[in-house]
């Protein structure tokens, strides 16, 4: 029963709704910083590390959004790559079809991709989220497969031959702006009354329902929002790689995102950010090992890591805590006065 008690304690750290948009300036400042860094990073950073950084940003968006479902709502979605592909294909189709390469057109394409993914999320979520148990896992996994099969059969996007010549519109600024927006939205959601509804669903569905939470609607909300951001991430991905192929979005892709969420801690936004950064880096850091041994152990290491993590530290590295809770008291006090008050 200890398992049940620990997160409950955590409910109390996600206190009363934050008054208004008091911390909005922090986020605006982060956005400004991203765009200030944009020029420097693009110009100065080595192409290889730039690539890693870009994929890391896309992975952060994916991991944080998936955490809304798998972490905060306690459901288990295994089809995040499917939503990513919907967004990626829709966005790429729009920008290649209309040959529009202005920032406004790009944002439109990305948002359309996100909305399409959200729509797909609604369709998949509505039937499967009503069910208890692990069925969602299989249904979302199946959805990922169905989407892949459908994409293979659409000639307009190249089928198995893939979609080429997507304009290279994704820049550092766009990727990390999306990261900031995603993290901000997730953080606002989790700390709102909707967010507490999600947490209550995770802790005990029956009790949540008894308290007047419409559990299906709460789950669906998290699921659709997660799908939306996955779709945006897909759009960024396509316009960075400039090539899309249905095979990219297979189950292994979803699995990678799941590992990020699990490693960071299911229910910790900053945990997902750190884990996404870490795993995006480590997969490249492990390459020298592969050059020496001539064998690629990476997926074996990943899967072993996942098992060992579950056996030894099932809550991930951060559990449900956020990074700020590990900061020294004086600093935390500055950044997040309420958090420090609660934990003392």
């Amino acid at each position: 029963m200890t398992q049940k008690n620990e997160p409950l304690k955590n409910l109390s750290t996600h206190r009363e709704p934050r008054s208004g948009l008091r911390t909005l300036w922090v986020w605006l400042a982060s956005l400004a910083l991203v765009w200030a860094l944009d020029f420097w990073v693009t110009d100065q950073l080595d192409a290889y590390f730039f690539t890693i950084l870009m994929y890391a940003g896309i992975n952060i968006t994916l991991a944080v959004s998936l955490n809304l479902v798998n972490g905060f709502t306690g459901q288990f979605s295994m089809g995040h790559a499917g939503f990513m592909s919907v967004g990626g294909y829709v966005a790429a189709y729009l920008s290649t079809r209309y040959q529009a390469e202005t920032p406004l057109a790009f944002v439109t394409a990305l948002v359309s991709g996100g909305l399409a993914a959200a729509g797909a999320g609604y369709i998949v979520g509505l039937p499967s989220l009503r069910l208890k148990g692990d069925y969602l896992a299989i249904v979302t996994l199946g959805f990922g497969e169905i989407i892949r099969v459908v994409l293979l059969n659409i000639d307009a996007v190249g089928g198995a031959r893939g979609m080429t010549n997507i304009p290279p519109l994704t820049t550092f600024g766009w990727v990390y702006s999306v990261v900031v927006v995603t993290v901000f939205s997730a953080w606002r959601l989790v700390n709102s009354s909707h967010g507490r509804a999600l947490l209550s669903v995770r802790e005990d569905e029956i009790a949540a329902e008894a308290m007047g939470v419409n559990i299906t609607r709460a789950k669906l909300r998290a699921f659709v929002i997660a799908a939306f951001f996955a779709g945006i991430a897909g759009g960024l991905f396509g316009h960075y790689l400039r090539y899309l192929n249905p095979a990219t979005f297979d189950f292994n892709r979803s699995f990678e995102i799941i590992i990020m969420v699990v490693l960071g801690g299911m229910g910790s936004i900053t945990g997902s950010v750190v884990a996404a950064l870490f795993l995006s880096g480590i997969r490249e850091a492990l390459r020298p090992l592969q050059e020496i041994t001539k064998i690629d152990f990476r997926m074996v290491i990943y899967s072993l890591m996942l098992i060992i993590l579950m056996l030894t530290r099932p809550n991930g590295l951060f559990g449900t805590r956020e990074l700020s809770e590990f900061l020294p008291a004086w600093l935390r006090d500055r950044l997040d006065p309420k958090a420090s008050r609660k934990s003392t």
Binding site: A47, F49, L152
Partner: protein, 397 residues
Amino acid sequence: MHSPVAFKFTNSLLIATLFLGLSPIGCKKKQVPQDTASGSAQTTSVGPIKIGEVGSMTGSEATFGTSTHNGIDLAIRQINAAGGVHGRMLELISLDDQGKPEEAATAVTKLITQNGVTAILGEVASSRSLAMAPIAQTHKVPMITPSSTNPKVTEQGDFIFRVCFIDPFQGTVMAKFALETLKIKKVAILRDIKNDYSVGLANYFAETFKKGGGEIVMDQSYGAGDIDFKSQLTSIRTKTPEAIFVPGYYTEVGLIARQARELGIKAPLMGGDGWDSPKLAEIGGKAIEGSYFSNHYSSEDQSPEIQTFIGKFKEAYGVVPDGLSAMGYDAARVLADAMTRAPSLDPQAIRDAIAATKDFAGVTGKITIDSNRNAVKAAVVLKVVGTQYKYQTTIQP
């Protein structure tokens, strides 16, 4: 329950390890970025010449990546044993892409900017080559793909080459063979819908075959990894085609042949170079006998290139080389040949030398690079007899 103090301690430990994990990357980022466009090759004029390879060594297409890698590896070893290029050894750096386009893109970026390779070999599949090509092109590093058949690959830029057929040619070869040599008019197609190579070949085959007066009586599909094809074959059986065109990989074709014979379909199967593997005859057994496929070369060919290649390959890896190994072997040798002819190891000079390749005596035929950077070479049609692939005819481009 943990005591709060111990709890904090373990957490900070974990976070410390996390950042330790990140730190090697953080440190490397501070390196002065090198000006890659000017070509990193000249910066090291001594020591080995670095050649990069990207391939699918793991994942669902690992078997193709491994075959290609063995071919490339053998070629590099032979060239080094013969004294290398310009008196310098070749060093092959192989990176795995797990069969994913984005991994291939990252890997090629690493090879170019971190390892400073002079040229790139890879990828097997067009889907990965298409993700790699724009990057090689931007950095102006010559890239030769051994077996990406999608015409779009070399359209990505003037530094991208291939040593294999393109889909339009190979599709035409089998269509012509069916019409002119086998003299048949009714063919059914069974394509691998998940595989870009198979879809491409099937489309071009159908186009040429119909133009030549033939009829495609049925166009069915399967997915790579399937093991049961009976429902497709039962439907095909009702149309009584004179041959079935199955432009897939040997991994599935063997089973397709078995099930076709089980259902009493006597018509021969036809396919492309994806069939070329000893596994085809092993898995297909008697069922695949009498079927035809187009290939780059015939292992019966007594020319010394082919016989040494087959002998050395068996010696090194203990198996008969398949078509992908032969193509990897040729890609590496075309590159080495171009580097030998090039006045310097400047990427532009190597590019020009590859583009000027003419009648290179490769294992997979006499290779000439045309103005679209595609290999122009004749195709042979082979017939499966027992466990041998017997030469039937040569079809010129």
